[in-house]
Each structure stands twice: as C-alpha cells, then as structure tokens.
C-alpha cells in the first residue's frame, strides 16, 4: 500500500469533505459507468459519495460509492453538492494508467468548501500527482420521483443474460420495447428494424432470471440510447434489477462487485418510457 503522503489522519479536520481510497480504480470505474455526459453533480453524503449524471432531463445515471469502500471518509455537513466536469475527474483518476499486478494508485479527495476546487491527490510508486478541479454550483436534478411504492414489475437478472439479449437488438431503430408478461411468464425485448422485427424472450424459468415478480403485464417502449448509456455499468456488474412503475418509468439497478474489498457498489439508471402502450 502506498502510504508516503497519505498518512496524516488529523489532516481531514480542515476539509468539508475528506476521503481516502487505497485503490483509485474503484472510483474510476464507478465514475466512468455514469459518464454519458461531460458534467455531473458530485454529492458527499453521510453514507457516501453520489455521482449523478443527467441528460436533457429525461434520463439519469447515479453511481454510489458507500463509505464502506473508503479507508477514511468524513463530511462535515449533511450533504455537500457540487457540479464538476466528470470527464476531467475520470482522466485525473487514471493519470497513472493501469499496470496489472502492480500496487494500486492511492487516492485522497479533499474539498474545502464553496469557491474551492475539488482536490485529488494520487500516489503511485512514490510519484505524486495533484489535481484541482474547478467546481460549480450544482444544478437541481430532475427528481424522477421513482416511487418505490408504485413498482409493478421487478426482475432480477444475471448480467450475462441481459448482455446477451441487448447484443441481439437491432440498433437500426432507436426504440426498444420491453414486455413483462404475467400470462406468458417472460421478459421480452423487441426491436423493430428495417429488415424485420427481433424478439428476445427470457422466460421466468431461465437460469438467468433470479427473481420474477410480476403484478401486471406491461408493454413499454424506451429509447435504445438510454440503455446504451448504461452499458459500461452492465459490463462490470454481476446482477441487474429491472423495476418498472405503473407509469412505465424504468429504474435499473446494477450490482457491481468490488473484489479487492469483497464488497459491492451500486449504479442506477432511471428513464421514462417513450410512449405508453396499453
């Protein structure tokens, strides 16, 4: 473990946010999974860091890094939110590149408060890199009001299954139709391309499906690009929970294993249906 710079533990005192991570890659991978837009809102909560990215008020991606994943984490206020250039943050976290089997890059995050930059200190093999990222006021994010009480259908599927299904989708059309049927007991993904229609059926009995909780048959259409935004998260996840409310709002939760710490992280995506079909 690299400890030359990052040892003083009383140092956190003067910062509004102070966090230490033994492996910068953990934050790097989670931040990358929601980087479908350049800017993001970076929130430090009591429970951990939340990185939220939004596109045209119609879709939202949130990566959550629980305090469990940090070696040290302290935040002085209930919720410290800032807007930053997420693409730049990601480049900074990867400044040393990644060499397999080597000691991971250590990371320290410091934020003094309003008007100060978000400071990252990365250490790798005795070399220290200091990054100061300009912060802006956090825009208010669309509150999707994903009403957990109004979830009609919930499916937990193994990531390989969803990966396979999505790879078969014809992308010549920008719409994907999701059917969850109580009568037929399946999850159907459909696309309507120029050459023809593609339907991929995953029955509830499939090995890929871990749980199939269907209250009512639903047919909803969503933009393919919304699913595409979540591909990075899908690739690094082990399981996915698809939850759809009665108004067709989709909430996807990816379970991302962090093997180095034998812990888990969550990345979520929310988006509205394109049209509703009864």
């Amino acid at each position: 473990m690299n400890t030359t710079l990052i040892t003083r533990s009383n140092e956190g005192e003067k910062y509004l946010l102070y966090a230490k991570l033994d492996n910068a890659k953990i934050l790097y991978n989670l931040a990358k999974s929601v980087n479908f837009k350049e800017h993001a809102v970076f929130c430090a909560l009591d429970s951990g860091l939340k990185i939220s990215c939004e596109d045209a008020k119609s879709t939202q991606g949130i990566a959550f890094v629980h305090t469990d994943l940090f070696q040290e984490y302290s935040v002085k206020e209930d919720c410290v939110c800032i807007k930053i250039n997420l693409s730049v943050l990601i480049e900074c976290l990867n400044i040393f590149g990644s060499i397999v089997n080597s000691i991971p890059t250590a990371l320290k995050i410091c934020y003094e408060g309003y008007g100060h930059p978000l400071s990252l200190l990365l250490e790798d093999n005795g070399i220290i890199t200091e990054c100061n990222i300009k912060t802006m006021e956090a825009d208010s994010l669309v509150n999707f009001e994903f009403d957990f009480d109004r979830i009609i259908n919930k499916i937990i599927i193994k990531s390989e299954g969803l990966k396979e299904a999505l790879s078969e989708i014809d992308v010549s059309n920008d719409i994907i139709e999701i059917v969850i049927s109580i009568e037929k007991q399946f999850l159907r993904l459909s696309s309507f391309g120029l050459i023809g229609d593609t339907h991929i059926d995953i029955p509830a009995s499939s090995d890929y499906i871990e749980s199939f909780d269907c209250k009512k048959t639903q047919v909803n259409r969503y933009k393919v690009s919304f699913f595409r935004n979540s591909l990075k998260a899908l690739v690094s996840s082990s399981k996915v929970a698809l939850r759809i409310t009665d108004s067709g709002v989709m909430g996807i939760q990816f379970l991302i294993p962090i093997p180095e710490l034998s812990k888990m992280a969550f990345v979520e995506f929310y988006f509205c249906p394109d049209e509703e079909i009864e």
């Binding site: 250039n85 693409s87 730049v88 480049e91 900074c92 990867n94 400044i95 040393f96 590149g97 060499i99 930059p117 790798d124 005795g126 070399i127 220290i128 890199t129 200091e130 990054c131 100061n132 990222i133 300009k134």
Partner: protein, 291 residues
C-alpha cells in the same frame, strides 16, 4: 563506394525493425514530407529529417520539432561495411521514405536473414534481399528482393556539416525523465485535458510536469531523478511545450530505451535524448511555446 549490411540474428532484426518503426513515426509527424535522410558512415547510420539541414532549430515559430538519430551500425548489424568514394567523401546521404522500408521489414515473421545494399536498377535503389525460412522442415527457403527507390543527396547540395549531431553545449540543466510507460500514460491523459504542458526541473533532481486550464490544474511531482547542472545560474528551469508534440514524440519511440534525458537550453526548446545501450542515440527537439 562500397556498402553492404547483413542481419542474421533474430534479435538484431527485431531491433532494426523497431528502429525503422521509430523513424517512420518521427517522420510522419514532421512538418516536411514524410521522407528521411539516411547518412551512411563507416561505423554508423544517421537518420535525419531533411529540414534539419538548416542546422538550427527553427526558433521563429513555436511548436516546431526536429530529430536526429544515430545507430552504431557495427553493433546492430551482424555484418556491416561502408567505404566512401574518397577520403573527403567518406559518407553518403540517401533520401528515402521510411514507411517503404518498414513495410518490407514487417512483411512476414519468418525472416531467416536480410541483406541490404545499394543497387542501380533503372534508378538508384536500396536493395533488400530477404531469405525466408521454409514453411516446413523439408521445403527450401525462399529469397525475395525488394528494391526501394532512393535519391542520393549530393554533398555539394547539402554540406556534410549540416548533418552533424546536434550539440548540447548550451545546456543549462539535464535531467533524466521518468520511465517511458509512466510518461506515456500521463501525457496521454493530460492531452485529453489541455493543450500545453509545463516541464520544470530543479538542481535537486525534482521534476514537475504540469497542465493548467480554466477547468483543472494537474501537477505530477517526480523526485530524486538523476540530474546534471551545467550552468549554475538558476535553481530551476521550466519550459512550456505543446502537449500534442510531446505526445507525438513519446508515442514515436518504438525501441526500448535505457534512458530519456531532457536538456533545458535557454528555455527556447526542449532537447530530449533517447539513449539505448550506447548503440542508439536519438535527439528530439521541441521548441517551446513562448508567451
């Protein structure tokens, strides 16, 4: 004039290919065409960009680059002979497109040996005779000759002295750069964030590589690097370069260097030296961005 070179050892063939690959990348980023001039001497081969002929870095505009490379021919080749026409004309300069040479060297992996010579076939050519291993144990090896047209640059057109090794006599401070892998990653990431990079070195062997934009400032601190102070005027020297040029330089290096040295010369340009085992020296100059 007599010229002949032969490569039998697989390692040497690979090394020569890496060298030509480096030259090809260096030339393709140059401001002139993609040609390069090879100067053949009795013990070495020098690769130079044609515009080096002015013998000075073009300081009038910032962001200019130039390179000069010498390889120890007697060490690299398994057999090498070069004799000039006379004592006065003890070397010859030929202009060539390095990508043609690279194309030949990379043609197949089953090279048994290769021979280089100059031949006159309708026009002057660098003739490369490659003997390939047979496909099976029983089949005979095949020989293919590739002729690459070249132009002999007469010494009356360009003086020999124009192709001398760039001198480092005005160097104020020399510092050894960090490893190529680390440098490569860092420069690439910084390139995604900004246009200009500042390199600063101190007498104590501290090196700082920094970018600063409206959005972010990133500084990397390297300590205890081997350093040589030639002029004891200032404690530290710094230079501002185009990241794109720096990135082009780092990515051109296809050989495995033993060290890369950065020489600070009057803050006008960065003079990099890439050294491999004493048998390869590459000078790469990038003029600095003047504010």
């Amino acid at each position: 004039m007599k010229f002949g070179a032969k490569l039998i050892n697989t390692e040497n063939i690979e090394q020569f290919t890496e060298i030509v690959s480096t030259v090809n990348k260096l030339c393709s980023k140059g401001s002139g065409g993609k040609t390069c001039i090879i100067k053949l001497n009795h013990d070495s081969m020098c690769f130079v960009l044609p515009e080096f002929a002015s013998n000075h870095m073009l300081f009038y505009s910032s962001g200019q680059v130039s390179f000069w490379m010498r390889i120890d021919a007697l060490l690299l080749f398994d057999f090498y002979i070069f004799e000039g026409k006379s004592i006065e004309k003890s070397s010859v300069m030929i202009e060539i497109l390095p990508e043609n040479l690279l194309h030949v060297l990379k043609s197949t992996p089953n090279v048994k040996n290769l021979k280089l010579k100059l031949a006159n076939k309708q026009t002057v050519c660098l003739s490369i005779e490659i003997e390939y291993c047979g496909i099976s144990l029983k089949s005979k090896s095949r020989t293919i000759t590739h002729d690459i047209p070249v132009k002999i640059i007469s010494s009356s057109f360009l003086a020999m002295k124009d192709f001398q090794e760039p001198n480092l006599k005005d160097t104020a401070l020399s510092i050894q750069m960090p490893g190529l892998k680390t440098l490569k990653h860092m420069i690439e990431r910084m390139k995604a964030m900004g246009d200009h990079i500042t390199i600063e070195a101190t007498k104590n062997g501290d090196l700082t590589i920094r970018i600063q934009t409206e959005c972010v400032s990133v500084s990397s601190y390297f300590k205890n690097l081997p350093v040589q102070v030639k002029k004891n005027e200032l404690c530290s020297y710094s230079m501002r370069l185009s990241i794109r040029r720096m990135n082009d330089f780092i990515n051109s290096i296809q050989v495995k260097p033993d060290k890369i040295i950065c020489n600070f010369i009057n803050n006008k340009y960065a003079h990099f030296l890439v050294i491999q085992n004493g048998n390869l020296v590459l000078h790469y100059l990038i003029s600095s961005i003047l504010d």
